[in-house]
Amino acid sequence: MADATADQAETQSGPMLAADGTPLKRSLARSLRMQRIRALMLVAPLLIFVLLTFLSPIFDMLFRAVENRIVGDTLPRTVEVLKDWDPETSDVPPEAAFQALYYDLFLAAEAKKHTRLGTRLNYEDPGISSLFRSSGRSLDDLGEDHIEAIEDTAKQDWREGAFWYALLGGDAGEPVVESARSQFVALEGETPRGPVGVVWCGLRNVVGAPCPPSLSRMPLNFGLSNDAMAMLPTTSLQYAAFGVFTVLEDGEALQEEDPWEAVYVAMAQDLAAPDAAAKVAAYTGPGAAELQAAQQAIAALPPISFRDGFAEIDEDWLDPTVWRSIKAYSPKYTPGYFLNAVDLEMGPDGVQARPESQQIYVMLFKRTLIMSMAITISCIMLGYPVAWLLSNLPDRKANMLMILVLLPFWTSLLVRTSAWKVMLQQQGVINDTLVWLGIVSDTNRLVMINNQFGTIVAMTHILLPFMILPLYSVMKGIPPSYLRAAKSLGANNWTAFWRVYFPQSVPGIGAGSILVFILAIGYYITPELVGGTTGTFISNRIAYHISSSLNWGLAAALGSILLVAVLVLYWAYDRIVGIDNVKLGG
């Protein structure tokens, strides 16, 4: 046989050929590829399901823990200006920063997004959110005198949307308009539709329920005039921003709308520029006369000081810490949430510990780990004998016992936890019994609930089946003949158990421990109900940030750390015990 193949190889100088003459390698590869594709098709639905429902939330969480676009999206110009500002040496940032902040915040306030930013920055610098909220409200008053001065020159014209459009609008300026649009879209937090979204909307079109048009696609129906852009650059910019907002948010036509204060303020700024008088004098287009009058009115006033304007709204704007926070959290990605999750923060000299009063997360992580271990250990202690009994009883009795073990699964978690409250509270069953027996005096009733003890007891009870089941199935797979063999070899009951039976049940302990530990580390309801203040876990804090404080970034960072901790422990377990030593069945 071997000779025959050798002969064949010798006589054929080229590559081996398949029956149809194609090289054997290629036809083999093709047939294998077909097999692989078919196999992939079979698992594809599951794969997609897992990706969508399991992996994508995890990645989303990991992403959220570092994502920080909100500052840059809400205050794009301010962030730009602050790049040149050195938060350590200088006092408050220059006027340009106040000016940028004014325009950014004005738009944000109109879009009602400024509070969101305030909330975000409040995580890092408590108190900042009220500053943003009140400022957003009072921003209309900034530059009041100048706005009035312009309006007073020709009230009926300046209050007319058409007049403004004649002055500033036109067919040009598309880049400016589009950049205003993209700023607005970013502010609204709308992301462009991906391929999936496009297909989805195509389907909805067919069905007759089309998707709402995307902000970045809706027609705007206005442009800017080249003359105005040269003469009044800031105004044109602000006018574009106003136009985008009017069309996209309010659904009105720009031509009919009297612009908001920020456009007046921009106009005042433009008209106060040193060469403004000359430019305006040279201008002959629509509204030239009104513009000249306005220019003269503005020239009579002192230039707008945004710094003073903000100071008037709230003195805190002159406090550099606010600006430091804005600058510190202006990058798109931030380690801030993670630092916060381990009780650190970004200070002027880099990373530093948080004030003592705010340090809770490291302690909570430690407590979660230690208590989860305690729960795991007590599950082993209680579960091992039960599993042993289960696997050694005659079938009928074992089934009965198994039902008892599984009973907790059939009862609501809340009911079980509440039952523990009844048992453990100071006026509860156990205390009453102890008092009645005279072991504990009536005045010294034991505190067994709303603390770590209560959490450990209740969680051990709840997680016990997860220890017993893998243990049981492993023990069921250990033939009784091993114990008999050990005894026949002269080992007494204990030695036989400890040297022969126990080592073989270790994989079950391993599997049970991993299950219980990982479940415990992320458990939330029971500690919430019976943990009091000393028995809560990190998950309770995560839940709090998800549902109450709405600091999802921090919640995500905490969750990610928990995930990494579990993975590290799993890895360590694999190194020490070996993951092949984990069995869920005999």
Partner: protein
């Protein structure tokens, strides 16, 4: 060795009964005594109580009634680990988490033996089963036959005088089984240990044992050396259970000393040796081994009763010929003849006469 006076018996079952459920007796009145150094096999169909007997001896089951004595001392109340009985289990029960050497060292360790002595004994035991190089392996890395040897070595390493084996070769293929039979027998003889061996393979029982106890229905049907068992079964169960047999039913018509006359249900008369029959008129089952049936006219004794037979099938098996006949209404009458140059090869349809020596045909219980 046949003569086992109760006085020098090493292992003794004395009227032992066993019931698991309190309703049926799994072992009924077992009396058995074996001297030191004997190789005794318990043979019997499934469920006949062999393992139960072994477990009682090892101490994993307690006798419901009766006494089990080891070296003259009742061991009913001695826990298994103090009985010092080596045991080989059907699935070997080698501890999977220990290496071969650790498995072997285990009984020595629990006996608190020093390390050097332990190693020496383990090595000797491994050499004895020709597995000297396998000390570092895990049981899962061994073949079935190798595991079997290790199990044997482990049962022997602490120098037990009595070793129990419960179908130790059941999981092996035929060739390996035959080899191991020989091996076990050799080692047992060399060490002079007493062995109680359970099997339901009769060839195994016959080739290995000094004596065989045939079990059925919780009782010992016959306890005898292999040749006696084969040639002189005491009842029809043993006759049918051991080896191949032709049986015919009939009524005893006359008993004269060592032989009797049996009228088969078809009417024909044959000669037989009365074993379980005592008087004329009793129903009986006669049993004759296929190789003891004679059909060569010259070799048949003239005054014996002969039967008419018709050849149904002739099977050439190499060393022997196996011929199926129709005799007295029985189509499954088998005869075996040696493949010799002068041996006649019967042809289907051929009509012949068959007969036998009266002492080869045993008239047993009906």
């Amino acid at each position: 060795m046949l003569d086992t006076a109760t006085g020098d018996a090493f292992v003794e079952f004395d009227r032992v009964q066993k019931s698991y459920d309190g309703e049926t007796l799994v072992v009924k009145d077992l009396n058995l005594a074996l001297p030191k150094g004997e190789f005794l096999t318990m043979l019997g169909p499934s469920g006949s109580g062999k393992t139960t007997c072994l477990m009682m001896l090892a101490g994993f089951e307690t006798a419901t009634y009766g006494d089990i004595r080891l070296g003259g001392v009742s061991i009913n109340n001695i826990p298994p680990h103090k009985r010092g009985i080596g045991m080989v289990f059907q699935n070997y029960a080698l501890f999977p988490h220990m290496t071969v050497a650790e498995n072997l060292a285990f009984p020595l360790e629990v006996r608190k033996m020093g390390k050097s002595e332990r190693e020496q004994k383990v090595k000797r035991a491994l050499d004895m089963v020709q597995m000297g190089d396998f000390g570092g392996r895990r049981p899962a890395q061994l073949s079935g036959g190798q595991q079997q040897r290790i199990a044997l070595a482990r049962a022997l390493v602490f120098e037990a005088e009595l070793v129990l084996m419960d179908e130790p070769l059941g999981a092996l293929d035929k060739q390996l089984r035959e080899h191991m039979q020989f091996e076990i027998k050799r080692i047992a003889d060399n060490l002079g240990i007493t062995v109680v061996y359970v099997t339901h393979d009769q060839t195994e029982a016959l080739t290995m044992s000094d004596r065989v106890a045939v079990f059925n229905d919780g009782k010992i049907q016959q306890l005898a050396p292999p040749d006696v068992l084969y040639e002189a079964p005491e009842n029809s169960f043993v006759a049918q259970f051991i080896g191949e047999n032709n049986t015919m039913e009939g009524v005893v018509t006359e008993i004269k000393g060592d032989s009797c006359l049996v009228q088969l249900d078809g009417g024909a008369l044959i000669d037989a040796k009365p074993v379980n029959v005592t008087k004329a008129g009793e129903r009986t089952q006669v049993s004759i081994r296929p190789e003891r049936v004679e059909f060569n006219a010259e070799r048949l004794s003239p005054d014996a009763h002969l039967l008419d037979a018709e050849v149904k099938e002739f099977i050439y098996m190499g060393d022997i010929f196996r011929t199926r006949l129709s005799v007295a209404g029985n189509d499954d009458f088998i005869i075996k003849s040696r493949n010799a140059p002068d041996q006649e090869r019967l042809k289907p349809g051929q009509k012949i006469k068959i007969g036998w020596l009266a002492e080869d045909c045993r008239a047993l219980d009906a």
